[in-house]
Protein backbone atom coordinates (compact mmCIF):
# COMPACT_ATOMS: atom_id res chain seq x y z
CA UNK A 1 0.00 0.00 0.00
CA UNK A 2 1.53 3.30 -0.98
CA UNK A 3 -0.06 5.59 1.55
CA UNK A 4 1.89 8.59 0.18
CA UNK A 5 -0.92 9.43 -2.19
CA UNK A 6 -3.17 10.23 0.78
CA UNK A 7 -0.54 12.57 2.21
CA UNK A 8 -0.09 14.17 -1.20
CA UNK A 9 -3.83 14.77 -1.59
CA UNK A 10 -4.14 16.18 1.93
CA UNK A 11 -1.13 18.46 1.34
CA UNK A 12 -2.58 19.76 -1.91
CA UNK A 13 -5.92 20.36 -0.17
CA UNK A 14 -4.35 22.30 2.69
CA UNK A 15 -2.10 24.36 0.42
CA UNK A 16 -4.98 25.19 -1.88
CA UNK A 17 -7.25 26.26 0.96
CA UNK A 18 -4.53 28.44 2.55
CA UNK A 19 -3.68 30.02 -0.80
CA UNK A 20 -7.37 30.57 -1.49
CA UNK A 21 -7.87 32.37 1.82
CA UNK A 22 -4.78 34.53 1.35
CA UNK A 23 -5.76 35.48 -2.19
CA UNK A 24 -9.37 36.13 -1.17
CA UNK A 25 -8.22 38.43 1.63
CA UNK A 26 -6.01 40.28 -0.84
CA UNK A 27 -9.06 40.88 -2.97
CA UNK A 28 -8.06 38.53 -5.78
CA UNK A 29 -11.05 36.28 -5.83
CA UNK A 30 -10.54 35.25 -9.45
CA UNK A 31 -7.03 33.98 -8.72
CA UNK A 32 -8.29 32.16 -5.63
CA UNK A 33 -10.88 30.39 -7.78
CA UNK A 34 -8.24 29.45 -10.33
CA UNK A 35 -5.99 28.09 -7.56
CA UNK A 36 -8.79 25.92 -6.24
CA UNK A 37 -9.48 24.69 -9.75
CA UNK A 38 -5.80 23.86 -10.35
CA UNK A 39 -5.61 21.92 -7.08
CA UNK A 40 -8.74 20.01 -7.96
CA UNK A 41 -7.36 19.09 -11.39
CA UNK A 42 -4.04 17.91 -9.90
CA UNK A 43 -5.75 15.71 -7.31
CA UNK A 44 -8.32 14.45 -9.81
CA UNK A 45 -5.53 13.35 -12.17
CA UNK A 46 -3.81 11.42 -9.38
CA UNK A 47 -6.99 9.76 -8.12
CA UNK A 48 -8.39 8.90 -11.55
CA UNK A 49 -5.13 7.14 -12.42
CA UNK A 50 -5.40 5.01 -9.26
CA UNK A 51 -9.08 4.24 -9.86
CA UNK A 52 -8.38 3.17 -13.41
CA UNK A 53 -5.50 0.98 -12.19
CA UNK A 54 -7.82 -0.67 -9.66
CA UNK A 55 -10.53 -1.33 -12.22
CA UNK A 56 -8.02 -2.80 -14.68
CA UNK A 57 -6.62 -5.05 -11.94
CA UNK A 58 -10.08 -6.27 -10.95
CA UNK A 59 -10.93 -6.83 -14.60
CA UNK A 60 -7.89 -9.01 -15.19
CA UNK A 61 -8.24 -10.73 -11.80
CA UNK A 62 -11.77 -11.97 -12.41
CA UNK A 63 -11.26 -12.64 -16.12
CA UNK A 64 -13.84 -10.11 -17.26
Amino acid sequence: MDIEILFKIAAVGIIVSVLGQVLARAGRDDQAMLTALAGLVIVLTMVIREVSKLFTTVKSLFGL
Binding site: M1, L6, I9, V16, S17, L54, F55, V58
Partner: protein, 131 residues
Protein backbone atom coordinates in the same frame (compact mmCIF):
# COMPACT_ATOMS: atom_id res chain seq x y z
CA UNK B 1 -3.17 -11.26 7.16
CA UNK B 2 -3.72 -10.01 10.72
CA UNK B 3 -1.14 -7.23 10.37
CA UNK B 4 -2.65 -6.22 7.07
CA UNK B 5 -6.16 -5.91 8.43
CA UNK B 6 -4.92 -3.68 11.24
CA UNK B 7 -3.16 -1.39 8.78
CA UNK B 8 -6.26 -1.29 6.58
CA UNK B 9 -8.40 -0.20 9.53
CA UNK B 10 -5.88 2.43 10.57
CA UNK B 11 -5.66 3.71 6.99
CA UNK B 12 -9.44 3.96 6.71
CA UNK B 13 -9.85 5.86 9.99
CA UNK B 14 -6.94 8.13 9.11
CA UNK B 15 -8.41 8.95 5.71
CA UNK B 16 -11.87 9.62 7.16
CA UNK B 17 -10.48 12.00 9.79
CA UNK B 18 -8.30 13.77 7.23
CA UNK B 19 -11.31 14.06 4.93
CA UNK B 20 -13.43 15.51 7.72
CA UNK B 21 -10.71 18.08 8.43
CA UNK B 22 -10.53 19.08 4.76
CA UNK B 23 -14.28 19.04 4.09
CA UNK B 24 -15.05 22.51 5.40
CA UNK B 25 -12.45 24.28 3.30
CA UNK B 26 -12.23 22.02 0.30
CA UNK B 27 -15.09 19.58 -0.12
CA UNK B 28 -14.08 18.25 -3.54
CA UNK B 29 -10.56 17.35 -2.47
CA UNK B 30 -11.93 15.65 0.67
CA UNK B 31 -14.17 13.50 -1.53
CA UNK B 32 -11.23 12.60 -3.75
CA UNK B 33 -9.16 11.76 -0.66
CA UNK B 34 -11.80 9.30 0.52
CA UNK B 35 -12.00 7.80 -2.96
CA UNK B 36 -8.23 7.34 -3.02
CA UNK B 37 -8.39 5.64 0.39
CA UNK B 38 -11.07 3.25 -0.85
CA UNK B 39 -8.97 2.41 -3.90
CA UNK B 40 -5.86 1.81 -1.78
CA UNK B 41 -7.75 -0.54 0.52
CA UNK B 42 -9.20 -2.41 -2.44
CA UNK B 43 -5.68 -2.80 -3.84
CA UNK B 44 -4.57 -4.30 -0.53
CA UNK B 45 -7.27 -6.97 -0.93
CA UNK B 46 -6.11 -8.09 -4.38
CA UNK B 47 -3.61 -10.82 -3.33
CA UNK B 48 -6.22 -12.44 -1.07
CA UNK B 49 -8.75 -12.49 -3.89
CA UNK B 50 -6.25 -14.36 -6.03
CA UNK B 51 -5.64 -16.92 -3.28
CA UNK B 52 -9.36 -17.42 -2.65
CA UNK B 53 -10.09 -17.93 -6.36
CA UNK B 54 -7.29 -20.50 -6.64
CA UNK B 55 -8.57 -22.47 -3.64
CA UNK B 56 -12.16 -22.29 -4.87
CA UNK B 57 -11.19 -23.62 -8.27
CA UNK B 58 -9.28 -26.48 -6.59
CA UNK B 59 -12.35 -27.30 -4.49
CA UNK B 60 -14.63 -27.20 -7.50
CA UNK B 61 -12.28 -29.56 -9.36
CA UNK B 62 -12.54 -31.99 -6.45
CA UNK B 63 -16.31 -31.69 -6.44
CA UNK B 64 -16.39 -32.23 -10.22
CA UNK B 65 -18.19 -28.95 -10.85
CA UNK B 66 -17.92 -27.85 -14.46
CA UNK B 67 -15.14 -25.31 -14.95
CA UNK B 68 -17.41 -22.98 -16.90
CA UNK B 69 -19.81 -22.73 -13.96
CA UNK B 70 -16.99 -21.70 -11.65
CA UNK B 71 -15.75 -19.22 -14.22
CA UNK B 72 -19.21 -17.69 -14.48
CA UNK B 73 -19.38 -17.40 -10.70
CA UNK B 74 -15.99 -15.71 -10.48
CA UNK B 75 -16.89 -13.31 -13.27
CA UNK B 76 -20.17 -12.44 -11.57
CA UNK B 77 -18.29 -11.69 -8.34
CA UNK B 78 -15.89 -9.47 -10.28
CA UNK B 79 -18.76 -7.53 -11.82
CA UNK B 80 -20.33 -7.16 -8.37
CA UNK B 81 -17.08 -5.77 -6.94
CA UNK B 82 -16.66 -3.28 -9.78
CA UNK B 83 -20.30 -2.20 -9.64
CA UNK B 84 -20.30 -1.80 -5.89
CA UNK B 85 -17.10 0.24 -5.91
CA UNK B 86 -18.33 2.54 -8.65
CA UNK B 87 -21.79 2.97 -7.17
CA UNK B 88 -20.42 3.61 -3.68
CA UNK B 89 -18.05 6.29 -4.93
CA UNK B 90 -20.91 7.95 -6.81
CA UNK B 91 -23.29 7.73 -3.85
CA UNK B 92 -20.73 9.08 -1.40
CA UNK B 93 -20.41 12.21 -3.46
CA UNK B 94 -24.13 12.74 -3.80
CA UNK B 95 -24.61 11.11 -7.18
CA UNK B 96 -27.60 8.91 -6.37
CA UNK B 97 -28.87 8.71 -9.94
CA UNK B 98 -25.46 7.85 -11.38
CA UNK B 99 -25.08 5.16 -8.71
CA UNK B 100 -28.48 3.69 -9.63
CA UNK B 101 -27.44 3.63 -13.29
CA UNK B 102 -24.21 1.81 -12.46
CA UNK B 103 -26.12 -0.70 -10.32
CA UNK B 104 -28.66 -1.33 -13.07
CA UNK B 105 -25.85 -1.96 -15.54
CA UNK B 106 -24.12 -4.34 -13.13
CA UNK B 107 -27.34 -6.29 -12.52
CA UNK B 108 -27.90 -6.68 -16.23
CA UNK B 109 -24.31 -7.81 -16.77
CA UNK B 110 -24.57 -10.46 -14.03
CA UNK B 111 -27.92 -11.61 -15.44
CA UNK B 112 -26.35 -11.96 -18.86
CA UNK B 113 -23.59 -14.12 -17.39
CA UNK B 114 -26.11 -16.24 -15.47
CA UNK B 115 -28.42 -16.84 -18.45
CA UNK B 116 -26.49 -19.86 -19.86
CA UNK B 117 -26.57 -21.43 -16.39
CA UNK B 118 -30.37 -21.03 -16.25
CA UNK B 119 -30.60 -22.60 -19.69
CA UNK B 120 -28.52 -25.58 -18.49
CA UNK B 121 -30.68 -25.93 -15.39
CA UNK B 122 -33.89 -25.93 -17.41
CA UNK B 123 -32.36 -28.50 -19.79
CA UNK B 124 -31.45 -30.76 -16.86
CA UNK B 125 -34.93 -30.48 -15.34
CA UNK B 126 -36.46 -31.23 -18.74
CA UNK B 127 -34.28 -34.32 -19.09
CA UNK B 128 -35.44 -35.55 -15.65
CA UNK B 129 -39.09 -34.94 -16.47
CA UNK B 130 -38.96 -36.71 -19.81
CA UNK B 131 -37.55 -39.86 -18.23
Amino acid sequence: MMINIVSVCVLAVFAVILGAALRKENGEIAALLLTAAAVLIAFAAVPYVQRVTEQLSELSEQAAVKAEYMQALVRAVGICVLTRTGADICRENGGQSAASGVELFGRLAVLLIACPLYADLIKTVGAFLSQ
